[in-house]
Symmetry: C2
Subunit: 242 residues, 2 copies
């Protein structure tokens, strides 16, 4: 879809990453933050007849810009022309998938995503979700695990999870995937140190069924078996096809 755009709207770094694909298109560069202004501008440009690509990282539909487009369409004071635009959303690889692929197959069975940011969501709602996910033994991907001002939520989540799953439950910490400074670590839940996590880290906590396996070449992987009939051995007695 970027190939058809006359105009690109996005965070400067992401537009730079487009490389040659950006050539010949009008750039509308934004700094980090100011997301609402960015989306509004994209919709206004489209209303003026431009073909606009609103560029973000990961999957635009998962804790990203697409939902803001529809929030503005529903509630924002947009010019009439910006309400009549045609909208197409393109999916992408979200951070939890990139982190999962890098470390094996931790998302092999039921999982959930929880944002720990309490900027737009009350902490009691977030806490109830962690509690529910802990009790029902979902694999959990935490987005926005910490921020500059917010350090306590992830420690609280860890302590809550330790009441429901083993201390050696594998946890994946993935930062800057596919970029400079990439870091992927596998630690045990009880040893999860908040100082090892920054704003750009995705944290995936295994379920009680998730396991670490070391390959013959000595690489450690995390996976969650397809079934839940006790650890993987028994699940393998039957094949998944129905």
């Amino acid at each position: 879809m970027i190939g058809e755009a006359t105009d690109l709207v996005g965070y400067s770094l992401y537009l730079d990453l487009l490389g040659p694909l950006a050539r010949g298109r009008t750039r509308h560069d934004y700094d980090l933050g100011a997301e609402e202004a960015r989306v509004r501008r994209a919709m206004e440009l489209a209303g003026e007849g431009k073909t606009v690509a609103l560029v973000c990282s990961g999957d635009a539909g998962i804790y990203a810009m697409a939902t803001l487009v529809f929030e503005l369409l529903d509630n924002g004071d947009l010019p009439d022309a910006a309400r009549r635009i045609a909208i197409e959303v393109s999916p992408g690889i979200s951070a939890l998938q990139a982190a999962a692929a890098r470390t094996g197959a931790p998302l092999g069975h039921d999982f959930c995503t929880i944002s720990l940011s309490d900027l737009l969501t009350p902490w009691d709602v977030i806490e109830a979700r962690i509690q529910a996910a802990a009790e029902a033994d979902f694999v959990i991907a935490f987005y926005n695990p910490v921020s500059k001002k917010r350090r306590t939520q992830l420690a609280h989540a860890r302590d809550l999870l330790l009441r429901h799953r083993p201390a050696d439950t594998p946890v994946i910490l993935a930062t800057n995937l596919g970029r400079e400074g990439e870091s992927v670590r596998i630690v045990e839940l009880a040893a999860l140190n908040i100082d090892d996590v920054d704003m750009l880290t995705v944290v995936i906590v295994g379920s009680s069924e998730s396991r670490v396996v070391t390959s013959g070449e000595g690489r450690r992987f995390v996976y969650t078996p397809r079934g839940y009939a006790g650890k993987a051995g028994s699940a393998m007695k039957r094949d998944a096809a129905e």
Copy 2:
């Protein structure tokens, strides 16, 4: 990674879909099902020195083949050479993301995935997850919603969810995405008819916050606001940047 492979292992239809990319590589075609045999063969070929691409649809790490590779590595009676292979997992677009993008941004806030197949997972575990997700108000993507023999689970899930979220909660039914016979529908939770769902359908149930918005060109979209401070209007008072 397919571009580097000497051998391709997969369901015939998926290998056909590779088109020119499959040319010059040895094909190992499999029928649907027989997943364990397929994965075992791929690992054995790699053990013999081939560079093998095990091809599947969606994201290999989400209810797909990657986890079976690690189950076999951990528990299967593989030849030693097949245990020493190097393994790389490539992420992809899972069905829930394709369905979400086609209909707007239903995954804009916390969501979970639940497989309704009770072949490898006891029903009481599945039911506990539906219950937890219902109470904690996650958006829910149901995989394997029905099979030829299994029709009651989705109806049970619907009835359980109706005790926790409004009757008009939007539900997305998406089948054959990106293929012939593609169908995407938005219905209300109370009107979810199991006969409209087949084995290949992904069912996404919105949270109590998910909304339907009609664009100026008359298209209906589903989105879930970024925040949880009561419906979208209030969430928009603040921007998501921290």
